[in-house]
Amino acid sequence: MRTLIFRTVAPYLSSLMVLFSVFVLLRGHNEPGGGFIGGLIAASAFAIYGIACGVSPVRRAMYFHPMALSAAGLLMGSVAGLLSIFAGVPFMTGLWVTVPFFTEELKLSTVLLFDIGVYFVVVGAISSIALALEEREVE
């Protein structure tokens, strides 16, 4: 699959896809989208980059091991649920804070933190499977 065209386009394509995955993740708050589908888009971006340029550039680009990423996501999800202990409400209750952000108001919530956790779990798990399969193909 290492044609010149693909190799030239792949880095731009994957960076665009990662950007889009973050958009989908944040959009998922009130509209279709969210952490799971965003994570899948990001994982396919890494897979495309891996097919075009080989697995080791992808691993370098990700910096952390994919499994560590998904563990971090799991940790984020648990902590997001645990925060409600301070509000005196049951586990996993959504809590909101409104932060002034220049002229707009930014609504942050534990739900968002949980969704980002889901995003990382999916990115980590799927890309570690995809990279392992691509590595086998090369050998």
Binding site: A71, L74, L75, S78, L82, V89, F91, M92
Partner: protein
């Protein structure tokens, strides 16, 4: 932004508005702790030296939390926390009664023993492939299954513990392990599918998944026919998980392949989750239908315990023999459920606790014996009594306990069970319990005579002396054996607890009231 202009919404119709006392967080604490430790250990899994240093305090904390949860449940009755503040039956409830809390505590103790033993037994590659993260994630699944009050959520925890157990099973990536794991995975997936299908039917019938809500609605339901079918499907699914007789063959095919500590954890924890799930479904959700199926469960229980013990007699490998003893014990627990009298169920609960501890300890002892004498083959090893007298003495205690001989913990549940079966005139069930105990005694007696008592064969005696570390190798075994001895000598406390737990199962009014304080959502 738009909603702030409108008048405030009354959330009390859909949400929990009472503040949650801090003690109620104990319900969910075992799960959160296991998930967080699992995630952290996964992040540092390349640092093999750090793994046990993080994991062991985590396992100790799990035991402490589970003990605190049991104390909380004993003092204030069944407790409930509903996730995300939604009122049950729409929010997912976690409801803990004495049965759930007792099993969580015992499971945590078995996991702690396994974690300590694993620090000496699991090598660096095993740690790098994630022994400790998998252990914590499996414990998250096991405690989630014991604590949840929602039947679909129970299915989810089954999946969590199953996936983690696949990981543990193939930790060494050896040929035999992959072979065992394939059988294990395939049959467990079939069982899980039955569980899911049954839950789908159940949702179709009742339109709810909350166990307390189902228990209420099943009482009110007039036509019984679909419910008996439903309970039979659950019996098949959980019987497969628990390795009851006609669907038990996956267990001896896989439990002798992984590392000893993994077998020990599986034998202690996984089959008991199946028994627990069946207890919950049969006794709390569908008691009337269970009465109709009582004789089926009794026949299967009797066959399971006798064929398990006979299978143990035929083995030449120590670990395969232990696998059959696990199956035989499952039969005894199902016999208690079949009787469904207070005596029968409290015997089943007591025996489940005993079996979790004893089977974990026996697998750990078999690992030490294999290291001391050079293999798991019963006929090929010998002379452990002369080289390692302490190990031999501890193992003899465990052999007595697993056969149900006094003065150890296996005796009391069997005595109660025999009495309970004679009370209802089921002499054949009482006979089966006694016969299986007799066969088990012969089976373990054979191991004792051949591997421990008999002088070492010439070839094995020439081998080098195995060094067993007094702390890491013996501590978990001694800890578990001490529990076996204490339970056997002073059974009063556990007996009372399992009787109270039985009352809560047979008359789940407190369980239901803890989920629906107003007496029901209808």
């Amino acid at each position: 932004m738009a909603s702030s202009a409108k008048e405030p919404v009354d959330i009390s119709v859909a949400m929990v508005t009472d503040p949650v006392p801090l003690a109620d967080w104990l319900i969910i604490a075992p799960l959160i702790l296991c998930t967080i430790f699992g995630a952290v250990l996964l992040m540092v899994r390349k640092d093999t030296r750090l793994q046990p240093i993080i994991a062991l305090p985590g396992l100790v904390a799990l035991v402490v939390i589970a003990a605190a949860l049991l104390a909380h449940v004993v003092s204030s009755g069944p407790v409930t926390m509903t996730m995300g503040r939604w009122l049950p039956p729409f929010g997912i409830s976690f409801t803990v009664d004495i049965l759930g809390a007792l099993l969580t505590l015992t499971g945590a103790i078995a996991a702690l023993a396994g974690g300590i033993y694993g620090a000496g037994d699991v090598n660096n590659s095993g740690r790098r492939y994630g022994f400790y993260p998998f252990l914590f994630l499996m414990m998250a699944g096991v405690s989630g299954a014991f604590l949840t009050g929602d039947i679909f959520n129970l299915y989810v925890w089954f999946e969590v513990l199953l996936i983690a157990s696949f990981g543990l099973l193939i930790l060494g990536s050896e040929r035999g392990q992959i072979d065992g794991a394939t059988k294990y995975a395939f049959l467990n997936l079939v069982a899980t599918t039955f569980f899911l299908i049954a839950t789908g039917y159940l949702y179709g019938i009742f339109g709810t998944l909350n166990m307390a809500d189902i228990a209420l609605k099943a009482q009110a339901m007039e036509e019984k026919a679909p419910l008996v079918t439903l309970l039979s499907l659950y019996f098949l699914a959980f019987g497969m998980k628990a390795a009851a007789f006609p669907v038990n063959f996956w267990l001896p095919a896989s439990y002798h392949t992984p590392r000893v500590v993994v077998s020990a954890l599986f034998a202690g924890l996984l089959t008991k989750v199946g028994v627990y799930a069946f207890m919950r479904v049969a006794l709390v959700l569908f008691p009337a239908e269970r009465d109709m199926l009582g004789w089926v469960i009794a026949v299967i229980a009797a066959l399971t315990m006798i064929l398990g013990a006979m299978g143990a007699l035929a083995q030449t490998d120590f670990r395969r023999l232990l696998g059959y003893l696990v199956i035989s014990g499952i039969g005894i627990m199902f016999a208690g459920i079949a009787l469904a009298s207070p005596g029968g169920i409290s015997a089943a609960i007591f025996y489940a606790l005993h079996s979790m501890i004893v089977m974990t300890a026996l697998y750990l002892a078999s690992g030490l014996a294999a290291r001391a004498s050079g293999g798991f083959s019963i006929a090929g090893s010998g002379g452990i009594y002369t080289t390692h007298p302490f190990l031999a003495a501890v193992t003899l205690i465990l052999f007595f306990a697993v056969s149900g001989l006094p003065p150890f913990s296996g005796l009391w549940p069997k005595v109660i069970l025999v009495k309970a079966s004679l009370d209802v005139g089921a002499w054949w069930l009482a006979g089966a319990v006694l016969l299986s105990g007799f066969l088990t005694t012969i089976a373990v007696g054979r191991v004792w005579v051949l591997s421990y008592w008999r002088p070492a064969p010439e070839a094995a005696a020439a081998g080098e002396e195995a060094n067993l570390n007094p702390v890491i190798d013996y501590a978990p075994l001694v800890m578990l054996t001490a529990i076996v001895v204490v339970l056997g000598m002073f059974p009063q406390q556990i007996l009372e607890l399992s009787q109270v737990g039985t009352e809560q199962l047979l008359n789940p009014i407190e369980y239901i009231r803890s989920v629906f304080p107003a007496g029901g959502a209808q």
